[in-house]
């Protein structure tokens, strides 16, 4: 997924680079809080490890070999924040020293491979390995699946970065100035490559390393899993936390712009003007439909856009953001009301009030 210079416009690189700066700062603070004065050697050796693992040729069937990124592996072994810095440092060494991956594109490459990949992979790994002991064989499988999902999401991010280039940056005669492929071409191309060869290589590497460490070097695995029981039966099965609901909703929110790619409309949601009457053997729009479809025409963002119809993409995303904010405020209001009523009922009930404050 290494993006060289010249594929992305300077503004794309600048945006992603600027987004990475506060993330690096946060990562530095979080890691230093955990490992304290060990920070420099801990992260540096982690970075050397990621650099070399990126060089490994992993045999896949038919005699070919592929490289892994091992972002999820680093996140499982070092923790996601330390992995963020370690993979970033490895990418910077590659870019500055070997010309592998661009220098302007460092921000974009770090965003895809040091931020998205380890964090998505680690979240999936934590979710799948929730109630497993440290030496449970299924934990290695969970790590492999997590790395497979992680590298595919990272590849998707790269595909989106490539895909927005021809629409945003083109010369007067329509010549694309940077990466020439549209999102409808980059997304399938990257998905095909990463769902098959690269994803499998990543899966094999992560699964293999975790399985090997479970057999041969459990103390190393314990570094990032201090409170997980090594073997036997887990005493209690923890239920899924609330936080995962937010993770799921966040993913859905981030994926919203994909709706821009979808052609056509949903069945049964056409306005009367767009209805193909002949298809339904109708002569005219049914009177009830004609009357009630125009009953309310005071929508703030009618048709997910501004009244003037300018900037359809920006207004579509803006509509989504406003809609999500309105729903969030509404849900929060309901939550406040429910809590308020609960308190009232507790105060009214003398037995509960007595037990609460003896």
């Amino acid at each position: 997924v290494h993006i060289p210079d010249g594929y992305l416009s300077p503004s794309t690189c600048g945006t992603l680079g600027a987004a990475m700066v506060p993330i690096w700062a946060t990562a530095g603070r979080r890691v230093r809080k955990v490992v304290k004065s060990r920070y420099v050697p801990y992260v540096a050796l982690g970075a050397s490890f990621s650099f070399i693992v990126m060089m490994f040729n992993i045999p896949v069937p038919d005699g070919t070999t592929a490289h892994g990124v091992a972002g999820t592996l680093s996140a499982i072994l070092l923790g996601p924040w330390a992995a963020l810095i370690a993979v970033s440092v490895a990418l910077i060494i590659q870019a500055l020293f070997f010309g592998d991956g661009g220098v302007l594109a460092i921000g974009a490459n770090c965003f895809n491979m040091a931020l998205v990949l380890p964090f998505v992979g680690y979240a999936v790994y934590r979710l799948l390995s929730r109630n497993m002991t440290l030496t449970n064989p299924r934990r290695a499988l969970a790590a492999g699946i997590a790395s497979y999902i992680g590298i595919n999401v990272a590849a998707m991010c790269a595909a989106i970065e490539f895909g927005i280039q021809p629409d945003l940056f083109k010369a007067a005669d329509g010549t694309p100035l940077y990466a020439p492929f549209h999102m409808s071409q980059t997304v399938p191309a990257m998905a095909l490559a990463h769902l098959t060869v690269a994803g499998l290589a990543e899966f094999a590497l992560t699964f293999g390393v975790i399985a090997y460490l479970q057999r041969a070097n459990v103390p190393v695995l314990r570094i990032n899993h201090p409170d997980v029981q090594v073997d036997g039966v887990m005493p209690e099965r923890r239920p899924l936390g609330w936080r995962w609901a937010f993770v799921g909703l966040g993913v859905l929110a981030v994926l919203t712009p994909l709706g821009l790619l979808a052609p056509g409309g949903a069945f049964g949601e056409d306005t009367p003007a767009n209805l193909d009457l002949g298809k339904y053997n109708l002569q005219a729009v049914p009177t009830g439909l004609a009357r009630w479809s125009a009953f309310w025409d005071h929508a703030v963002l009618g048709g997910y856009g501004f009244d003037s119809g300018e900037h359809p993409n920006i207004s579509y995303i803006l509509s989504a953001v406003i809609g999500m904010a309105v729903i969030a405020v509404g849900v929060y209001a309901v939550f406040l009301v429910v809590r308020f009523i609960n308190r009232l009922r507790n105060n009214d009930d003398p037995t509960r009030a007595a037990s609460a404050s003896p």
Partner: protein
């Protein structure tokens, strides 16, 4: 003081002998016999590791030669390289980028970089990756526009190579080559320690630079133990080793062992640092001085960038 230290360093460090930087002809799996067999993943990793080492040795040799770019202050060199790469990204006309690439070649000659090596290093990479990637973009399926090379009809539509597609592909290939050339110029003419010192004086946090430097140093250490493990495996292999399953198990075991080693090493390094008085405060020593040649270089670069971007905008499109 700085130039005197440089002189001492230059005298002390011997140049890597020629034979060490060349690939062994006899051990090459292709070529001499004329029959090419598939290289196993073990050989690929070993040769990858040795090429990293070879590149590091070669870079050190070139960075200590007396050329134009080697004389410049590393801070100045890093900033101007970044500015030129940004300028290359802003340019929209192929001829302007060709001129910029020619300038990179000229700088390579004046910095005593072997021209053949310099061109090969950039152009071996560019056609393989960039060329194949942008090739489909020249067709009218991807980039719509004026068809210049018609290739027949497809469901009633004319298909062929479009002028927009060809221009776009050419633009990307030459831009990628130019950007890589300037980054390679920076990497080849600056030793890693001087590059790190330059980064440190450019608002990059000190801790981060410390991590970068230590990571770079231990890459070579870990590379040594990985090579040992792979060579041991190769030495014990009697037949051609093409079993994918056991190969994957071996790769994972190597990576796992390497992580164990890296972690133990980080603990030892930390203890060594503490016993030498490390108190989480990185102390650094910088002896850089901006000289007349640096000022001249900055002026020259600024002028060229303004000229390049100005001419590019004047040509338009």
């Amino acid at each position: 003081v700085s130039s005197r230290t440089d002189e001492l360093v230059r005298q002390a460090s011997s140049v890597t002998p020629e034979w060490l930087l060349q690939r062994e002809v006899a051990l090459c799996p292709c070529g001499c016999i004329g029959k090419r067999s598939k290289v196993s993943f073990i050989d690929k990793t070993i040769s990858g590791a040795s090429s990293v080492l070879r590149q590091a040795l070669f870079t050190d040799d070139i960075a200590t030669r007396r050329g134009l770019l080697q004389r410049l202050d590393p801070r100045v060199k890093t900033i101007t390289t970044l500015a030129i790469v940004i300028a290359a990204a802003l340019v929209r006309n192929i001829p302007v980028l060709v001129v910029l690439y020619a300038a990179a070649l000229l700088l390579a000659i004046t910095s005593k970089i072997p021209l053949g090596y310099f061109i090969k290093r950039v152009w071996l990479f560019v056609p393989i990756f960039t060329g194949i990637v942008v090739l489909p973009a020249t067709f009218s399926f991807v980039t719509h526009g004026h068809i210049v090379v018609p290739l027949g009809h497809w469901f009633g539509h004319r298909v062929g190579l479009t002028s927009q597609g060809l221009r776009s592909a050419g633009l990307i290939v030459i831009r990628v080559a130019t950007s890589i050339s300037f980054v390679v110029l920076l990497a080849l003419t600056t030793t890693w320690t001087r590059l790190l010192a330059a980064l440190r004086s450019m608002l990059v946090p000190r801790m981060f630079v410390l991590v970068l430097g230590m990571a770079y140093r231990y890459v070579f250490h870990l590379l040594g133990s990985v090579t040992d493990m792979y060579e041991a495996r190769k030495a014990r292999t009697v037949q051609a080793d093409n079993v994918v399953r056991s190969g994957r198990a071996f790769v994972s075991a190597t990576a796992g062992t390497m992580f164990g080693k890296a972690h133990a090493m980080s603990e030892e390094v930390y203890q060594a640092m503490v016993s030498r008085g490390y108190t989480c405060q990185a102390q650094t020593f910088s002896a850089f001085r901006i000289r007349a040649i640096d000022v001249a270089w900055i002026a020259c670069c600024a002028l060229s960038i303004v000229l390049v971007v100005g001419v590019d905008r004047a040509i338009g499109r």
